[in-house]
């Protein structure tokens, strides 16, 4: 039941229009029972007792044994511990007739905790304890301590505790600064998909924020700066989780639920339809449940349809029609407006309380009807003449008495009309199929019957044309008419007649095997890439020889020119240079066959530097020799010139 309700809510959420956000999660009665059962756990310590007792009181019920609970609180109390005092005093407030013993030391301890040096949690707990024990609190001091702690502990949980603390102070105190923190906190919420709004610290923080914000806003009677959409998104975040991990989480959800259903400014409204949102002649009433998020009825509200229009034709069927309240359910007789079957988009408005949030809801309502088949005429028409042979009329649900025979020269024809039983209007359902089933072979062929312009359905079977669908198997086929649609209450499967089909080129009727899709397919063999076509070895060998031949030519030319190595000096640097150079060329060959670039570079660096040094030396020596030779030749020329001039 709850699941169906949830289903409807989800469908509602999916069908909502672009204008307003409506809650997609709330506490259905089953969820509420689960929450109450979860909170009603036996107490293990003072903290769990606090969560259980106060959580249940927020949901409006009391703990099973109040006296035993009070005894438990008194026995577990540690008067020197502020947290212990907080849990005990808050829980005792929720129980009736339970008093926590008080002493001067306790009071002094609590008052001393209210200072800038205590943590926010300590200030919150001590102020709450003082307030629930009825002791006076210096509100202004508390406010200044809170303001200092907010700047020091700038995290979400601390600020939420500050809001809670402020709601316990006197109304005359300067709470404006703390009130502004609500807006800052609201800005820190993360928007998830436009549907959820929550703190990254999690569900508990979000739920505590809701409780604290509304507690403080109610206390100072100033509306919290939360927009309607934000309120709905907060509702979605807090109530999306339906089973809770810890007592503190369940407690936070219970507090938030109480805040959402009881504060002075925003009351989110949950509109669900009772069962599927569908009406028909048998069930003409559209029934809605309008509650707050604790699934409790809202007092003194009125619900009305602002407009209802058909989805297909967009014509407005209903406008400004009120729902009547009966036994906590809002009803409207939609069939009074005599809608045609199909889907209708409703815009429902809930009014009566200025605090209502998400009170404009869009929903889709289905109107179903029953179909009747009229004027079912079957005939066998000769292809050559278009004049039909006799037409047989069959009435639903009986079957035609004689069977029809059609061979390749004839067509089998069928025509009928589908009308709405209640209104007599012609219908065009989504599914109008004609199925021919061969009883002997189990083969079946399905065709679609199409309506013409006057909404009369016609079906023609051309035996010659369609023989491939039948695999040319002649025999007796049972003819069925299948009519179905989402808006039809009575889908039809009607065995209209038997048709004997005669095909030419008949094959021996064999039992039709279902197509075997699931046998192993033929194996795919991987085809490696064909290696490129290489020229024949003879050609490449010839060209290798050809390419090396200019070397021969070079040596011949050099010898002809008289190039020689007679000037080869056997100095160490010269030998070293030539060896190094030869080694470099050898390294190139080794690189080609074996090494990679990094190794080559390493060896090249070593050999290269050696060669460079040796070569440098050698070339310098050569240069010296050359310059000396040039100078001596110049000197000789000069001398000869001088001799000549003399």
């Amino acid at each position: 039941m709850a699941l169906r309700g949830l289903h409807c809510v989800v469908l509602l959420a999916l069908a909502l229009g672009a204008q307003a956000l409506t809650p997609s999660h709330h506490l259905s009665p089953a969820d509420l029972d689960r929450l109450k059962a979860f909170l009603n756990q036996p107490f293990t310590d003072l903290e769990s007792a606090y969560y259980s007792i106060v959580g249940l009181s927020k949901l409006g019920i009391a703990v099973s044994d109040e006296h035993a609970a009070c005894q438990f609180l008194k026995s577990q109390l540690d008067p020197s511990n502020i947290d212990s005092l907080f849990f005990a005093s808050e829980a005792s407030q929720a129980l009736s007739g339970c008093q926590i013993p008080l002493s001067n030391e306790t009071r002094d301890l609590l008052l001393a905790a209210v200072s800038e040096d205590s943590t926010m949690s300590q200030i919150h707990r001590s102020v709450s304890t003082l307030s629930s024990l009825g002791l006076p609190v210096a509100s202004q001091e508390v406010v200044s301590a809170l303001t200092t702690r907010i700047t020091k502990e700038d995290n979400v949980l601390a600020i939420i505790l500050a809001l809670q603390t402020a709601s316990r102070l006197s109304q005359q105190a300067e709470l404006g600064g703390i009130l502004e923190e609500i807006e800052d906190l609201a800005a820190r919420l993360d928007d998830l998909g436009g549907i959820y709004l929550q703190f990254e610290e999690g569900l508990e923080a979000t739920a505590h924020f809701v409780t604290a914000a509304y507690a403080l806003s109610d206390h100072v009677d100033i509306e919290p700066p939360l927009k309607e959409d934000q309120v709905v998104q907060l509702v979605n975040s807090v109530f999306s989780k339906k089973s809770w991990d810890s007592l503190s989480e369940a407690f936070s959800v219970a507090s938030a639920a109480a805040a959402f259903s009881g504060n002075r400014f925003h009351i989110p409204v949950v509109v669900t339809s009772q069962g599927p949102a569908a009406v028909s002649h048998r069930q003409p009433m559209l029934q809605l449940q309008v509650t707050d998020i604790l699934s409790q009825p809202l007092p003194s509200i009125s619900v009305q349809v602002e407009s209802a229009h058909a989805v297909a034709s967009k014509s407005v069927v209903l406008s400004q029609a009120p729902f009547t309240l009966r036994d906590g359910i809002f009803e409207l007789n939609f069939m009074d407006s005599q809608p045609a079957s199909g889907y209708y988009q409703f815009a429902v408005a809930v009014t009566g309380d200025s605090r209502l949030v998400a009170n404009h809801v869009e929903m889709k309502v289905k109107v179903s009807t029953e179909v009747a088949i009229n004027n079912m005429d079957l005939s066998v028409v000769d292809k050559d003449q278009s004049i039909g042979t006799k037409t047989t009329r069959v009435e639903y649900p009986s079957k035609a008495k004689t069977s029809f025979t059609a061979d390749s020269h004839q067509n089998f024809a069928m025509s009928f009309q589908l009308v709405d039983v209640n209104t007599g209007v012609e219908l065009t359902p989504h599914q109008t199929f004609v199925r021919l089933h061969n009883q002997k072979t189990g083969q079946e062929v399905v065709f679609v019957a199409e309506p013409d312009s006057k909404n009369v359905y016609k079906f023609e079977l051309d035996t010659a044309e369609r023989k491939s669908e039948f695999d040319s198997i002649s025999g007796t086929y049972a003819l069925y008419l299948i009519v179905g649609d989402a808006t039809l209450e009575n889908p039809i499967l009607w065995n209209v007649a038997d048709v004997v089909l005669k095909f030419l080129d008949e094959e021996i009727p064999s039992v039709i095997q279902p197509k075997n899709l699931y046998v192993p397919k033929p194996e795919i063999k991987h085809l490696f890439r064909d290696p490129e076509k290489k020229p024949p070895t003879v050609v490449s060998n010839t060209f290798t020889a050809l390419v090396l031949s200019p070397l021969l030519l070079l040596f011949i030319l050099w010898i002809k020119l008289g190039a020689n190595i007679s000037n080869f000096s056997f100095t160490p640097s010269c030998i070293l240079f030539h060896l190094g150079h030869a080694a470099m060329l050898g390294l190139m060959y080794v690189y080609w066959t074996q090494l990679n670039m990094f190794q080559t570079l390493k060896y090249l660096a070593i050999i290269g530097s050696l060669t460079f040094l040796a070569g440098n030396r050698m070339l310098a020596q050569k240069a010296v020799k050359r310059i000396a030779a040039e100078q001596s030749s110049r000197l000789a020329k000069y001398r000869s010139l001088r001799l000549a001039s003399k």
Binding site: E532, K533, K534, P535, V539, S540, F543, L546, V547, P550, L551, L553, L554, L557, W558, L561, G562, A563, H581, M584, L585, M588, Y589, Y591, W592, M597, T600, L604, G608, F612, G615, N616, L619, A620, K622, A623, R626
Partner: protein, 113 residues
């Protein structure tokens, strides 16, 4: 027309034989060898297709690079160009030639595959 081309060519060859120093002729012979090798490689590629394209490219680039470096060497050691290369001795030119060749060979062998 062809006779004038022929006479120009023969004059050119004679002039070349006469006036070019032996050192430059040695370098010219080397350049001719490089040219022939490159041309033969290209001819082979045109004939049988570019199958190991990287090998063809590296061989061809090797010839082209060696030719260019040889031309640079020839320009730098030509005594007629001495005025343009005052600070560059023939030995330095040869050293540059060898160093550039080392790098060229490294790249070519890397690419030859």
């Amino acid at each position: 027309m062809s006779s004038s081309v022929f006479s120009v060519l023969s004059k050119f060859v004679a002039e070349y034989r006469r006036s070019t120093p032996a050192k430059l002729k040695v370098v010219d012979a080397y350049l001719l060898y490089i040219l022939l090798t490159g041309a033969l490689q290209f001819f082979y590629c045109v004939l049988v297709g570019t199958f190991p394209f990287n090998s063809f490219l590296s061989g061809f680039i090797s010839c082209v690079g060696a030719f260019v470096l040889g031309v640079c060497l020839r320009i730098q050691i030509n005594p007629q160009n001495k005025s343009e290369f005052l600070s560059l001795s023939p030995e330095r030119a040869f050293a540059d030639f060898l160093f550039a060749h080392a790098i060229l060979h490294l790249v070519v062998v890397n690419f030859i595959g």
